[in-house]
Amino acid sequence: MTADRLPATAKRGWSLYDPRLAWLLVAPAALLLICFMILPIVVMGIYTFYTFVTAGVEEASLTVANWHEFFTDSYYHGFLLKTLRVGMVTALICAVVGYFPAYFIWATAFRQKWLLLLLLIVPFWISFTIRTFSWIHILGEQGLINVWAMKLGLIEAPMQMLYTEGAVIMGLLHFLLPYMILNIYVSLEGIDRTLVQAARSMGCTNAQAFREVTLPLSLPGLAAGLMLCFVLAAGSYVTPQLLGSGRDALFGNLIYDTIMGQLNWPMGATLSIVLFFILGSVAAIYTRFMGMSQIVKGLGG
């Protein structure tokens, strides 16, 4: 607009929609990403080919020994499979448990919906580490559940609940559920409610209308939530460290142990790149799939 009205001299100066201005605005973020994310990953990638000499010492002579070790040693495969399994189980439980509150917030006639959504965000006001620690007081040997169960005479000796895979999954659920609920809620909110009325007028019961209309149209949000929860759960480190035993360690803990415990930087770098690659692939596959369904959704809008 301004460019049209002003004489040609203005075209040589800066205007609000100048592409050069766009680059300038993107530059700080791009620089940060390059210096603190892409370069470190490249360095890590190079490190995977270094030779491990002894704890804390490595040599810059290139070798594929680390990769060979990862691909042949079933010790690593076990950790990897376990990590993927815990991630999937967590994401699935999140989806099943999270759909109901999301649906409730969408369907309620309560006028102050923002309040319900705010409640979802309230847990984020407390540090994630403290929230994870709180489970120790609930699940521990002297924790809430065991103490009361013993007082009521339900059990004689405390149950082993803390430092199990169940505790780890519980902690992850606590952490990830709001992400799942918000994702599902957003896609439910995009559904035209007259579609449900149309389905009902043609002979659907409420449950049938849900199956025919609401559920399929909310699947993009469910898929986004599953992807997010899986990636965050599989990449988690703090939760299994605090709530799991040595046996329940996930891949993140393995990397920590390799680098900080064994001081084996080349192997630690290899494992990091593996996790990065796997979780990155999941996100990439999802984006491709979502891209497709987004197109369908966009056309339907």
Binding site: Q197, A198, S201, G203, C204
Partner: protein
Amino acid sequence: MPDAMNLTESRPLAGASPAPATAPPAVEFRNVEVAYGKFVAVQDFSLSIEKGSFTTLLGPSGCGKTTLLRSIAGLVDITHGQISIGGRRIDDVPIYQRNIGLVFQNYALFPHKSIFDNVAFGLKYRNVPKAEIATRVTRALEMVRLPGSERKLPSQLSGGQQQRIALARAIVFEPEVLLLDEPLSALDANMREEMRVEIKKIQKQTGITALFVTHDQEEALSMSDRIVVMNAGRAEQIGTPQDVYDRPATKFVADFLGKANMLEGKVATVTGSVASVTLTGGQSVQITSPRQLSVGEAVTVVVRPQMLTTPPPPGASPLRGKVVSSSYLGGRVIYEVDIGEPALIRVNTAISGALAAEGAAMELGFAPADCVVL
């Protein structure tokens, strides 16, 4: 659900029920009231709709017409009275058992289902065998002139085409009533006219009972067998399009359906069938009315702009005034004339001779029978 039905039928009917002489009306409202908390959207509404007819609920937004439509569909609960479809009381029947076809303003096609699945939807929930579903869907798509679109997604069709699919989806399972909730208002003007004809044609062809909701008087006049003019939750007038246009029962109806001049005055003399009315501004007009008028009675004389001519027809007493504005329509002209009444008089007349200039004096009038006296 048979239990619920028996319960409904054994319940004593509210009010005196007329003896079922012939077939029951396709749809019947009896003293229906819908209230949202303290706000009464519809009050004491009674209407019986003949089978196979096209009835329009016409009114401004907020008059309760959509609420009534939604109450038959079961999307709104009525607070008083009863609604029957084909003699069967349905206000306690859940929506999915009412056997009604519903067409929405925004089409409401399922975006994730193909056209075939959209149209087949109602049949599927009526347990129609697969082979029959296929033939009936094909027939419905032919009827709305979109054959071969089965595999497309709704988003691949234009707005008008989507509304045709919505129509096909609503009639394919042969519902007892077809409810149309402002189905044309999301379309552009050209498409609207085409769909108007199309809907009317399909309704005639199938002989389905249709209830149409609109705020557009042109749609109502051109499509309906009967029009229910609604205002503030009540029916102002129920009649054929000609009834409500030519013989409006209230000022609201006269004003809402087309532009009307309303002249307030008092009856001065009554001579046989002709009465003379003295208007507020002092001029007088001659009128005839089927109603017996008495001298001194306050009346409103409603005259359509097309009924006014300049110069006045022979025998009519002229109204004198000054032209305030004129708009040339090619062949016809609309004048706004100040005749000393609170409102300007609108005249829509064929042009004979030169156009009157703004500010010019003008004599106009109407034949005594060309008005309605309220």
